[in-house]
Each structure stands twice: as C-alpha cells, then as structure tokens.
C-alpha cells in the first residue's frame, strides 16, 4: 500500500513537471517539444490511473462509512454516471439550456435513485422459522417471511439470501413485490453441514431497486434455533454387523418368531395364513401352526467420548455411526439403551428415545479425559470408542 502510494506520488510529480515543461515550450511556440512533453505527462497520468489507483482504492477500509458498505455501484450505474458526465461536458461546452435541462433531470434521477433505494429497505422486517431439529447434510424446510409494514410504499425487487458467514446454506430467492402492510412467506430448503446447535441471527436482503444503478444489501435480524443431529449414513456403510449381537435364540413360548412351536386345532380367530393344510388333510379337521416367540432383542449402545483433538475427524465419524445405529435399530423395533460416561438413556424403542439419543449426539464433544462408559450387562453391548483395544 505504502509502496504503491509512494510510486504514484513520484510518477505524478514527474508528470506534473512534464506538463509544466510542455506549457512553457508551448508559450515559446516550440510545438514539437510541447507535444512530446504533453504526451509524456498524459501517458504517466493514465498509467498511474490505470495500474496504481485501483490497487490503492482496494486497500481502503470503507467499513467506517455505513453508506459505502451497504451500497455498490452496478455496471448500469457506471453507465449512467458516464452518460451524466458526457451531458455535463456538453452542457458546459455549449451552454445549451436544453442540455442543462437534461442534465438536471439526470441528476434528479440519481438523487431519487439513492433515496428510493434507502426507502425500499425502511421498516422491512424478516422472520425465519427453522425446525427444532434436523439432520446434518440433509436438506430441510424452513419458512421465511418478509414483511412490509409501511402504509404507503410497496417494497419492490428484494432478494433474500444467507449472510456471508452463515452456516445456514439456502438458495437465494427473489420477491418482486410486497404490497403495503403485506408479507411474503415461502418455504426455503436449507442445509446444515455439521451437527450441533445453530442459531440463525441474520439474513441478508439486497436489491437493485429502483433503477438498477445501486445494489444495496443489508442484514436483517431474525431469531431461529435448531439442533442438527449427526449425519445418518446408509446402513451398508456401517462396518458393524448388528445381527451378530442381536438376541437370535428362541424362547419356548408362543410368539411371532420363525420356528414352529406346535400344531393345534384351528380356532375361528386364527389367521388363515397359518393353516397347516397337510396336517388338516391327515386328520380331517382344520389345523393351524403356532410359532415360538423369539428372544427379546435388546442392545446397549455404549459411546465413549474419549479422544484427542487430533482424532476430531474420527470422532465425528464415530458420532455419526452411533447416531446411525440408534436410528436403524429403533426403526427395526429393537429395544435400545444408550450409555455414555456423562449421560445414559432409558431402554426402549420409541421415537422420543431416539430423539433424546440424537440430541445428545448432536452436542457431544470429544474429551481426552473422558472415562469409559460404565456398563453392567455383558451381553448385547455394542461399544464405540477411539481407545486402543485392551488385549484379552
């Protein structure tokens, strides 16, 4: 920055000396040195303007001026300014009143453009409702409402988009018009990349209204919170064979298992699907099959929070695996209890239980000092841990 500034000052100083030389030689009537001096001065000035001024301008911090941070001149705006400059030059050169009239109108358009652009955002309010929870990397719907409480002026041409550093990713959408005392509500598909608790504090609204010369954008406060459950991976990607740890043995009781328990006389309330036709034919009366009940299927999912910061990615995979296992097991009707060192769930297979497990996993953090989870039972335990396995 300082180097460019110094270079610019030196070059412009040289250009000024060349211009003075050109002026001096022109007074003496020496055309050729005058032309060379003028050409040299102009060339340096153009080069500085072309190469150095943009770099200097890029380094300027405009944040202390709210006007500059909210507005950006568009390509159409530059064209309009160029046109106004041409008209101004023509008006000054010719003193033509009609040109001055056109110039006045153009300046008025410019003033009104800034005023209407500011007015379009005045009193506008935004509201976003995200669901209480969702899954990481899985699109979810949230409702976004833009309100125009003004009594006189409609709001035109608003584009709603996430703020730059927002974790909420949603496709920008466009609202052409919100009438006075009216609102625009629509469902927006959003995605959150990682598990955790997220707050949506702002959305950005921008507009080129009224004439497309200025792009104004500013954040609007909203208040919405959501808990993002860990990503649920497809069952085939889980490298744990759940069937290995399921209780697959039968009890010698009636039930809904797969093995035959007994054949007895058919009762009117029995299902026709279970009629044993061969036995019925042999005995001459309808017989039905009864099956043995399966052992109750129950799993304890033990989750170990242990790990160092270097294990962060592995820990995230473990969290995702635990969430996926809980999800698939409960979906398949298996009774599950979840145990960690700092929290444990009751046993069950309800959606509420699943939600509590996923909520825990959404917020769980790696801890190098975390103890092993305490498990009393020995059978049907599925432990997920980053600790090195203990030799038996």
């Amino acid at each position: 920055m300082a180097r460019h500034f110094a270079k610019s000052i030196i070059l412009l100083g040289i250009a000024m000396l060349a211009a003075l030389y050109s002026n001096s030689t022109a007074r003496d009537g020496r055309i050729v040195p005058s032309a060379i001096g003028a050409f040299f001065a102009l060339s340096i000035a153009v080069w500085v303007g072309w190469r150095l001024v943009p770099r200097l301008a890029a380094g300027v911090d405009w944040d202390w001026l709210p006007f500059f941070t909210q507005y950006r001149l568009t390509r159409d705006g530059w064209i309009f300014i160029a046109a106004t400059t041409v008209v101004m030059s023509a008006a000054i050169n010719t003193s033509n009143n009609l040109l001055y009239m056109v110039l006045s109108a153009l300046l008025a358009v410019m003033l009104l453009s800034g005023f209407l652009s500011g007015l379009n955002f005045r009193f506008i309010r935004a509201d976003v409702h995200a669901p209480e929870n969702c899954f990481a990397k899985k699109p979810f719907q949230m409702s976004a409402t833009i309100r125009n409480p003004r009594r006189i002026f409609p709001a035109f041409s608003l584009q709603v988009l996430p703020v730059d550093d927002s974790p909420f990713e949603f496709a920008p959408y466009y609202v052409p018009l919100i009438r006075t005392r009216d609102q625009d509500t629509r469902m927006v598909e959003a995605v959150l990349p990682r598990r955790g608790r997220y707050s949506l504090g702002e959305v950005k609204i921008r507009s080129r209204y009224p004439f497309g010369f200025l792009l104004k954008g500013r954040p609007f406060a909203v208040k919405s919170q959501t808990i993002v459950f860990p990503e649920i991976v497809p069952p085939e990607t889980l490298d744990i064979n759940v069937e290995d740890i399921l209780g697959a043995s039968e009890r010698f009781e009636r039930g809904h298992g797969m093995d035959l328990y007994m054949i007895r006389d058919y009762q009117s309330f029995d299902s026709a699907r279970h009629v044993d036709w061969k036995a019925s034919a042999k005995t001459g009366s309808l017989k039905t099959r009864e099956f043995a009940a399966e052992e109750s299927r129950r799993i304890i999912l033990a989750f170990d929070r242990y790990g160092s910061q270097a294990d962060h990615e592995r820990f995230e995979r473990q969290v995702s695996q635990a969430a996926s296992l809980a999800f698939y097991l409960i979906r398949d009707g298996i009774e599950l209890s979840f145990v960690a060192d700092d929290w444990h769930s009751p046993t069950g297979r309800s959606d509420k239980l699943l939600e509590s497990i996923l909520s825990y996993l959404a917020l769980v953090e790696i801890d190098p000092a975390a103890p092993r989870p305490v498990i009393r039972e020995r059978d049907g335990v599925l432990a997920l841990s980053l600790r090195a396995p203990v030799p038996v």
Binding site: V87, N93, L98, A108, L116, F156, Q183
Partner: protein
Amino acid sequence: MESSRFRSARPFRSEIKMERYFQISFHALILTAFIALAETGRLDIPSIVLFLICFGITANRALKGRPAFLTARAAFLMSLGYIFFFVFDAAIVSRSFITASIHLVLFLELAKLAQEKQDKDYLHLIILAFLQILAASSLTIDMSFIVTLFLFLVTLVSTLLSYDIYRSQRESDETRDVRIDGPLGGMSLWATTWIVILGVGLFFVIPRIGTGYFSRAASQALLLSGFTESVQLGEIGQVKLNSALVMRTRLLEGTPSAVPKWRGVK
C-alpha cells in the same frame, strides 16, 4: 398478535404480467425518443414513416409474445451490411453526414428491436433512446422539447423500474407472476413527479459555465448572423463577436439616426 395485523400473501393472479408491463414501458420509451428526434425537423418523411411502420410491427410482436424476426447473428450481419449503405446514403441519398448518421442509428435501433433480445440488448436500446434525446436537445431550440422530455422521463422511469424487476425475475427463475402494474405504475408517476420537481430546482441552481472549448477549436464552423450566405433559420448558431471591419456605410441623404439599425435578407 402482531402477525394478525398483516394480510397473508395474495394469490398470484396476474392480469398484466411483469414482462408485458416492461415491454409496454420499453416500447413507449423508444417511441418517445424517436418523437423527440423527429420534432427537430432533421428527419425526412420517408424515414419517419418507415421507422414507425417497422416499430409498430416489432412492438406488436413483442407485446403479443411472438418470437422475434431476426436472430442476433442476422441482426449483426445486417448492421454490418448497412455500413456500405451508410456511405452511399451520406454521399448520394441524404448528401449529409448528420442525416446519414441519424438513419444509421435508426436502422441499428430497428435491427435490435427485431432481433431476439437478451438483457444487454434492452440496455443498449435504452442507451440509444437516451442518445436520441441528447441529439434532439442539441438539434432544436423549440420549447416543445420540454413536453417530449417529460414524456421521455415518465417512460424512462417506468422502463428502468420494470427492467430491474424483469431481469431479476429471470435471473432468479422466479415463477410467481405478481400483478405489479398498479404499484409499479403508481411508483413511476410518483418518481417522475419528484424528478421533475428536483430537476426544475437543479436547473436553476446549477451554475452556467460556458467554456466553448470545442467551438474555439472549430471556429470556422460558426454561423455568422447577417453576413453569410448559409444561415439556416431555427438552427442553433452562435453570434460571433468580432470587431474586425466587415463593411463601410455612408449616409447618402436624410438626418443620421442616433442608434443606427440594420436590416437584411439571407
């Protein structure tokens, strides 16, 4: 409770679609600019008639949503081809560089109007319309230009307002078709009124500086009042202030007047 103060969003029935509103404003803008140019008297009758016919046809097709006559490439090739006609026009048909240039601009405008248009083509046509107004303001001293300028401002504001919404809708694939003619038309009138009020204020406030840089550089093109054979009445000229001796007069008879006045014919 607060939300009950607001009506829910209306169903998106549209009587005049956004695109149609824009097309009407846009074609009105082009027509107003052409009228301003025609009012200067620099345009010949055949050009006016031909332009109006072609403009009418293209406007009709655009407003009815029919496909354009020409592809962008065909319009480009035709415009290139017109350069040869421009030379012919300047040398033989119009015998005037300015008139031939105006014909060229009008042809380019018609070619653009008749072609398949993208957003930038609309912008080019708006710029062409503005240049026409600029040319008209330089070629006339008639105060009726103010009326045309006002109409131009109304259509310009309406076109720019709807142009931004029209292209933003297209950029964002916004499918909802909002009935926007009422609010946008009202806002156009409101904005134009304020532009006129502000413009009038600025017109009287802006300092008038007449540098005349170019006129000094091209002094041979000045029109001299009275003592030239090629003065065109109604045309903008400049009275040259020169103390050089141009003629000698002598009173042959009668009493000399205290303030002598001269009368002549061109």
